[in-house]
């Protein structure tokens, strides 16, 4: 049913269509195919090479050697040993893997570790003070019983901290809207909202 677009009626390749001169149009595919042959050989030898990735995680420097495919989530859990950050869907749909990168909440499952070179990553392990005193958001989750199974909780807590920092926790409606990327299958939502309100009021004054 479908033809190869390069040979169809509209079928000048988009590159040759826009190149504008016949000679360049004819040459471009040749150059590209030579490059592709070279690419195949070059890439093959480089594909399995580990790359060096430097990160600061919870204030500590880490020098990691990783396959380029490693997500930031897998780097944290499997290479650094910080398993507080959870893998839920691994496709950016649940929020369980939320961490702060340079102070902003992101999904560590959809970020390749190598793209975070030089960044400061904060995970749930980095929240409590060195004397063991919990971060106000952690304490608020306990105070309000804001979890049941607890699997989504590290992501909820990191996302809630990001949400307040962004200025999107001004009302309970705001909190519900701007926390919608964190799914809780135990449906502890009312208590999560209450916990965020408490932590917001405690941390804003400081």
């Amino acid at each position: 049913m479908l033809k190869n677009p390069a040979s169809s009626a509209t079928g000048l390749s988009r590159r040759s269509f826009m190149t504008g001169t016949v000679s360049a149009a004819a040459a471009a595919p040749l150059l590209a195919s030579a490059a592709k042959a070279e690419e195949a050989a070059a890439v093959h030898s480089r594909l399995r090479e580990a790359v060096a990735v430097s990160l600061r995680i919870n204030g500590q420097p880490y020098a990691l050697s990783l396959d380029t495919r490693t997500s930031l989530l897998d780097a944290l859990r499997d290479h650094v040993g910080l398993t507080g950050t959870k893998k839920g869907c691994d496709h950016g749909q649940c929020g369980a893997c939320t961490v702060l990168v340079d102070g902003k909440r992101v999904l560590s499952c959809l970020s390749f570790a190598v793209m975070n070179q030089g960044s400061e990553v904060t995970t749930v392990e980095g929240l409590a003070s060195s004397d063991g005193k919990l971060h106000p958001m952690q304490q608020a989750f306990i105070d309000h019983d804001a979890f049941q199974c607890g699997y989504c909780t590290p992501g909820q807590i990191m996302s809630a901290i990001g949400c307040i920092n962004e200025g999107h926790a001004n009302s309970e409606d705001d909190i519900r809207e701007f926390m919608s990327g964190n799914i809780c299958r135990c449906a502890a939502y009312p208590n999560i909202v209450a916990a965020i309100v408490q932590a917001r009021d405690q941390t804003r004054g400081t």
Binding site: R14, P29, L47, T68, R69
Partner: protein, 340 residues
């Protein structure tokens, strides 16, 4: 996931040079040898699923040109750098004031985390979430040209009723794009053949018989900026998005509306529809239906009938025709009633 080589070009011309060297325009975009990544929220997902299979990934986040990360507001309009994140643009005070439809469309899209990651250019180039495109065991003309379309007779509740072809009925799920096409935005792109401007309405291609070719961009072209021309009446604009759940879901139907009113009567209307079409969808017939008319429930309904006059539905998505009309009527009346 297939292994890939990772590169971090320092500037636009370096990124274009690498892409130009390792790609050809007759490659299917998801299978292109070298692919660009910015936020990664769409591409990383599709690489995990085996739908996008680059063997060279060009990370655009280290490009040094400062304009790529800036929002500039002037008398000419608003210029968004391609690497500005969705969340930053959604929260920008002047964007909210001058073009509420843009800020709304971004705020109502994705989640807080994804909006912090996703770039504006990546957002407009996002690929469909058609279930049959996502799952590689199904036939899909967009993923494997000529293999067929499992959605035609499958579970097509999410699928498009406007702009479909015999080869593809996958919905374009973006929201920002509807605001841009309504406001006559222009995209700036740079590739090996130089820099050019592309009217937003010409950026995306209808599926026709080549659904795997989704945009007008060459394989080595990078979007560098998105420009929205200044029109004072863009202040009377909004984006209404109807979903299965109240937040963090794709639109079943949405409407971007901007109105230039003379009292009750419509001097000019700009309308785009989301969640119902295969590409960002400007509803020009609906705009024409409102021209010089008093905007009330009856004229809004007539415009909605015009917008969906050519709709074609399948087994599970027929509800979108009625939902789309009602969404547009509500968006028009709410926009009319905005205090500006």
């Amino acid at each position: 996931m297939r292994p890939f080589v990772y590169e971090q070009p320092n500037d636009i011309s370096a990124a274009v040079a690498i892409a130009s060297r390792f790609t050809t325009d007759d490659e299917q975009p998801t299978r292109a040898n070298a692919q660009f990544i910015a936020g990664g929220t769409n591409l990383a997902d599709y690489m995990k699923l085996g739908v996008a299979v680059p063997n060279r990934l060009l990370d655009l986040n280290r490009l040094e040109e400062p304009a790529l990360r800036q929002i500039r507001v002037s008398d000419d309009g608003i210029r968004f750098g391609a690497l500005v994140r969705m969340g930053e643009a959604a929260d920008h005070a002047e964007v909210k004031r001058r073009c509420p439809v843009i800020a709304d469309s971004l705020r109502l899209a994705a989640s807080g985390q994804i909006r912090n990651m996703a770039s504006l250019a990546g957002n407009i180039l996002q690929r469909t979430r058609c279930e049959y495109f996502r799952e590689t065991s199904w036939p899909c003309n967009k993923r494997v040209p000529g293999s067929g379309c499992a959605a035609m007779e499958g579970f097509n509740r999410q699928h498009a009723v406007l702009g479909a072809s015999d080869a593809c009925i996958a919905t374009y799920h973006g929201d920002f794009a509807q605001a841009l096409i309504a406001l006559d935005a222009v995209v700036r792109a740079e590739g090996s053949r130089g820099a050019r401007k592309v009217p937003f309405a010409r950026l995306h291609r209808l599926p026709r018989d080549t659904p795997h070719i989704e945009t007008d961009l060459a394989a080595d072209e990078i979007i560098t900026a998105i420009e929205v021309p200044a029109v004072a009446w863009a202040r009377r604009s909004r984006y209404l998005k109807i979903r299965d759940r109240e937040s963090y879901a794709f639109a079943l139907a949405s409407a971007a509306v901007a109105l230039d009113l003379d009292g009750d009567s419509v001097r000019e209307a700009r309308i785009a529809l989301g969640g119902v079409a295969t590409v960002p969808w400007r509803a020009r017939a609906a705009e024409a239906a409102l021209q010089d008319k008093k905007l009330d429930e009856a004229s809004a309904d007539a415009a909605a009938q015009a917008a969906f006059a050519d709709a074609e539905s399948r087994q599970h998505n027929a509800f979108k025709v009625e939902l789309g009309k009602r969404t547009l009527v509500r968006a028009l009346l709410e926009t009319r009633d905005m205090k500006v």
